[in-house]
């Protein structure tokens, strides 16, 4: 330690993992970490708050158990690596954590970790156990989102005017907490979160955001945490309504639900990520008829789609009558539709007809 430095709360939490081992050893007890279970069985939907919340059930990970010993050891190793990040004030990726913690165990030919698949869940375990967000642990994901619109951000002291970034927009970083990214100015009326980059490009190219005074956001598929968190901040701090535009298939529905209520796996982060008031503008299973999309631009639902749709029907947060109808309508039609299918009518159909009519008719699901 060359210079005195304030210990962060997260660092203290990480050091706590070592304390678990030391205290247990002193008391001759089996060192055990209590890790909240990240599964459907341990989440509940809080209807009042409109969020998926994590339950109280925990699993014990003990060191002196043949089946868990290695995982326990790996967990402590990852905690050590995360603490190193805190102390050096660096951020890193999941993959680098994996490489940082991989080595041969002394006097053996065994690796601490064999693949990244082993270390990734351990980081999530530590997130939920220590109640620390991944951002707080200084672990970032790829920049996988784009934003454009009447919005001024400050990133690392650089002013970013999202209205002056051409059609490419600004690449949403993985960590968008106020310490790293500030919203300087925002004059938009709403946020439109689009599932696919192609539709976002269409809307951006057509300057849809200018005409309708909105912010265009995409996560290229399942939106990464940065995109979700930024949408949430715009919703919370600037009181902007959030509309979600996804494909008409079970995966699209689920993306919407993750934005709205949070995911099962990271339910503990719902309170910082979810946007319970987000609206589903499309593509709805009612749209093909309402907008006259021909049947032949649909795709037959495969077995996986059907199974996934049935699962969604069972989730407590899909129990609204309108949603049950929506999903059942898709199942009975036996078809799914991509947003791209709108191009069948016109290349600019999305910008010029579909969205304007949707917004005008306030035709969305809650």
């Amino acid at each position: 330690m060359t210079r005195p430095r304030k210990t962060s709360a997260v660092e203290k939490k990480l050091v706590g993992v070592a304390d678990v081992v030391i205290t247990a050893a002193q008391r001759r007890k089996d060192p055990t970490l209590a890790i909240p279970i990240r599964a459907l069985s341990n989440v509940s939907f809080n209807e009042r708050r409109g969020l998926i919340e994590m339950g109280k059930r925990k699993q014990a990970r003990s060191f002196f158990n043949v089946g868990m010993a290695k995982k326990f050891m790996q967990t402590v190793l990852v905690a050590d690596a995360l603490c190193e990040l805190q102390r050096a004030n660096l951020t890193t990726s999941l993959r680098e954590i994996y490489y940082r913690t991989k080595h041969t165990i002394k006097d053996s030919h065994e690796n601490t970790l064999d693949t990244q698949d082993e270390s990734d869940p351990l980081i999530e375990d530590l997130e939920v156990t220590l109640a620390a967000l991944r951002e707080e642990l200084h672990v970032r994901a790829e920049n996988a989102g784009s934003i454009v619109g009447p919005l001024v951000l400050v990133d690392d002291g650089d002013r970013v005017d999202c209205a002056k970034l051409g059609k490419g927009g600004y690449s949403v970083p993985s960590i968008v907490e106020p310490e790293y990214l500030q919203i300087k100015k925002c004059t938009a009326d709403f946020v439109l979160l689009v599932e696919k980059g192609t539709q976002w490009n269409r809307l951006s190219e057509d300057k849809f955001w200018r005409r309708y005074n909105c912010i265009l956001l995409t996560g290229n598929g399942q939106p990464p945490r940065g995109v979700r968190r930024l949408a949430r901040r715009l919703h919370e701090e600037k009181q902007l309504p959030v509309y979600v535009l996804v494909d008409n298939d079970p995966w699209g529905y689920y993306i919407y639900s993750v934005i709205k209520q949070g995911s099962i796996n990271l339910a503990f982060e719902s309170q910082r990520m979810a946007i319970p008031k987000a609206k589903f503008v499309g593509l709805s299973s009612a749209d093909p008829e309402a907008y006259g999309l021909p049947r032949n631009v649909g795709i037959k639902l495969n077995d996986k789609d059907v199974a996934r749709a049935r699962e969604l029907l069972g989730y407590t947060w899909f129990q609204k009558k309108s949603w049950q109808e929506e999903i059942k309508r898709m199942l009975s039609s036996g078809l799914k539709y991509e947003l791209d299918a709108l191009a069948n009518k016109d290349f600019q159909y999305l910008t010029k007809k579909y969205l304007p009519r949707k917004l005008k008719e306030r035709d969305w699901l809650d």
Binding site: A18, I22, A25, V66, D80, E84, H109, E110, D114
Partner: protein, 625 residues
């Protein structure tokens, strides 16, 4: 085909004969003539195991060695055999063994020798021998083998068989060069003389044959090695065609008990056989015939049989000479590296009136040396996606009939089939449907009988009689049960050991990580000690070492078994020290290091082993350094 049929009446059906080519019965009759066995086998040499050059070379060596061992054992002499295979130049420059097509085979034994008059017919007359007409166990049966080998040599190289034989130090050695007259099946003597021969007693046969020398499965080398496993009482020196010399010392100093000749047993005798025996018998009464010409039929029993069906004692077994559990163990242990050995001799049984004994053995595991070698190979840390080594090698079945290894046609053999349909999974060995069990394992099965039912004259596979199949199965199951007990015991100890081990491994990591988390201000030694104490308590402490047999517990409850651990050997290891000072066992048994003894030059195999051993110890030293 027609002129092979001795009965001319079949061909005299004028209705089916086309007119112009009509041949009279007289003309046809004139064409009929006897076929000599020699002529028959000249055309059908594949029936005797001479289908291709590689197999032919093996068959020739095999016939000569079998004859030598039979002769020694019958005379009560511990066999001392020298086998030499040399590549012979065929006109041009001498070729390396792997490319040569002509070989000279010389087999020398220390047996009783052959009297002068008998030498030519024994080596140059098919179906001439002492073993066919009696019910007594021996390697050879029909009296075809060695003469057929000589005939094959004669046909392919034109060279006669050369024999030297001497019956005692007092009598002279005789040298013969003989060939077979294939038309008459009679020996033709090209040369005979008395010579001076170094050996006081014994026989040497030399043949020159067309062949191919290639190592690997079903090679001469494999035959020799398997012969030694089943005949640990044999001392054998093998000079390979490559010029290598392999010494196989005698490891078991007892000659197998000499088998006695017996009469057929009433069980399983067939009607035709019974009728033939009735014709040949010298007895005048039925009971006299029964008592005189069968085994285990007393005059009183004969009376009973003559009246009604009855129970008869199992056939006598003194006509058989099983190898014995101790000798099988010794053979397996000396020749195959492993961790576990066991052997089972079944009580005698009968098929078709012929008594037989099934013996089985197992060698399991890789042996300490090989295990160490594979551990060394893994010393490089594995990168992502690099598979752990998982070998799916299947068990090897080595088959014997009257102590002779069977190298061809495994899938046609009763032994192989019985090994297949033994449920090895019950004994902790994995086995896919319709396949041999998987794992480092050698399955040894020996059938000893006065008459082994081969599927063909080339004696490659044992025919599948129900009684034989059942006996093999019972023997293999017993071996399997013992293996299962061994594996379970080891597995239990291993899992305890592994638990301790992984905790010990991971404790280091956990303590180091905790220390870093605590900013390097942790008393690591104290934490490590606390955790290690807990690890010891939780995994049964000292018990593990006991289970791993480090404290010297024997192979309890496992009769006729040997267990080899890196620490040493448990169980009865029958080793003959008196005659084999250079005996280096593959398992590095302690007795191997014992004798500083004679300054004997280590040869062939032993030399290779010694080298391997040196390398292993060097590697160990390296690791320690």
């Amino acid at each position: 085909m027609r002129d092979q049929k001795p009965n001319p009446s079949k061909s005299s059906s004028p209705a089916t004969q086309p007119k112009p080519a009509a041949v009279s019965a007289v003309e046809m009759g004139a064409r009929q003539r006897e076929i000599s066995v020699s002529e028959f086998f000249t055309k059908n040499r594949h029936l005797l195991g001479f289908d291709n050059p590689r197999k032919a070379l093996l068959t020739c060596v095999k016939e000569a060695v079998d004859n030598a061992l039979d002769a020694c054992e019958e005379a009560g002499i511990l066999p001392d055999v020298v086998v030499k295979v040399e590549a012979v130049a065929n006109g041009g420059a001498p070729l390396p063994a792997s490319q040569a097509s002509r070989f000279r085979i010389t087999v020398t034994d220390n047996g009783p020798g052959i009297i002068r008059q008998q030498i030519p017919p024994i080596f140059a007359k098919l179906l001439y021998g002492s073993k066919f007409h009696r019910l007594r166990m021996s390697r050879g049966q029909q009296g075809i083998g060695i003469s057929a080998a000589g005939m094959y040599g004669q046909l392919t190289t034109g060279k006669p068989v050369q024999i030297i034989s001497r019956t005692s130090p007092r009598s002279p050695a005789h040298y013969f060069e003989v060939q077979i007259d294939t038309k008459k099946n009679e020996p033709r003597i090209l040369e005979k003389k008395q010579i001076v021969w170094g050996a006081p007693r014994g026989t040497q046969v030399t043949m020159e044959v067309e062949g191919r020398y290639q190592k690997g499965r079903a090679s001469v080398d494999e035959y020799i090695e398997q012969t030694i496993i089943a005949n640990p009482h044999v001392k054998l020196t093998y000079h390979t065609a490559d010029g290598e010399t392999k010494e196989y010392p005698r490891t078991y100093d007892q000659l197998p008990p000499s088998p006695r000749e017996i009469k057929p047993h009433p069980y399983g005798i067939e009607l035709g056989m019974l009728l033939k025996m009735l014709q040949d018998t010298k007895s005048h009464s039925l009971s006299g015939f029964l008592a005189g010409d069968f085994s285990r039929v007393s005059p009183r029993l004969a009376e009973e049989i003559a009246i009604q069906s009855t129970k008869i004692m199992a056939p006598p077994t003194n006509c058989l000479s099983p190898i014995g559990e101790r000798a099988i163990l010794s053979g397996l242990y000396q020749q195959i590296k492993g961790e576990f050995y066991t052997a089972v001799s079944r009580p005698p049984a009968v098929y078709r009136g012929n008594p037989f004994v099934i013996e089985a053995g197992l060698a399991y595991g890789r042996g300490p040396e090989q295990a160490a070698a594979s551990a060394e190979k893994k010393a490089v840390p594995l990168a992502e996606g690099e598979a752990q080594d998982n070998d799916h090698e299947l068990a090897r079945v080595i088959r014997y009939a009257n102590r002779v290894p069977l190298l061809y046609q495994p899938s046609a053999c009763a032994i192989y089939k019985a090994a297949l349909d033994t449920t090895w999974r019950n004994y902790g060995v994995s086995q896919s449907r319709g396949a041999l069990p998987a794992g480092p394992m050698v399955i040894f099965v020996h059938m000893a009988s006065v008459w082994v039912p081969f599927t063909s004259e080339s004696k490659e596979a044992i025919a599948e009689y129900d009684e034989i199949h059942k006996e093999i199965n019972l023997a293999l199951r017993e071996c399997g049960r013992r293996l299962g007990a061994f594996l379970r015991r080891r597995e239990r100890a291993h899992s305890e050991y592994r638990r301790r081990n992984i905790f010990e491994l991971y404790i280091e990591e956990v303590v180091e990580s905790c220390n870093r988390l605590k900013g390097g201000r942790l008393s690591t030694a104290k934490l490590k000690e606390q955790l290690q104490k807990m690890a010891m308590r939780r995994t049964g402490g000292e018990k593990t070492d006991e289970l791993m047999a480090k404290n010297g517990s024997g192979p309890e409850g496992l009769p006729h078994s040997i267990i080899v651990t890196p620490e040493g050997i448990e169980g009865e290891v029958p080793v003959l020290v008196s005659e084999a000072p250079e005996a280096v066992s593959p398992n590095g048994a302690p007795e191997a290091d014992a004798k500083p003894g004679k300054p004997s030059r280590p040869t062939g195999k032993t030399r290779r082993r010694a080298k391997a051993k040196r390398e292993t110890s060097r590697a160990t030293a390296r690791r320690k350094a």
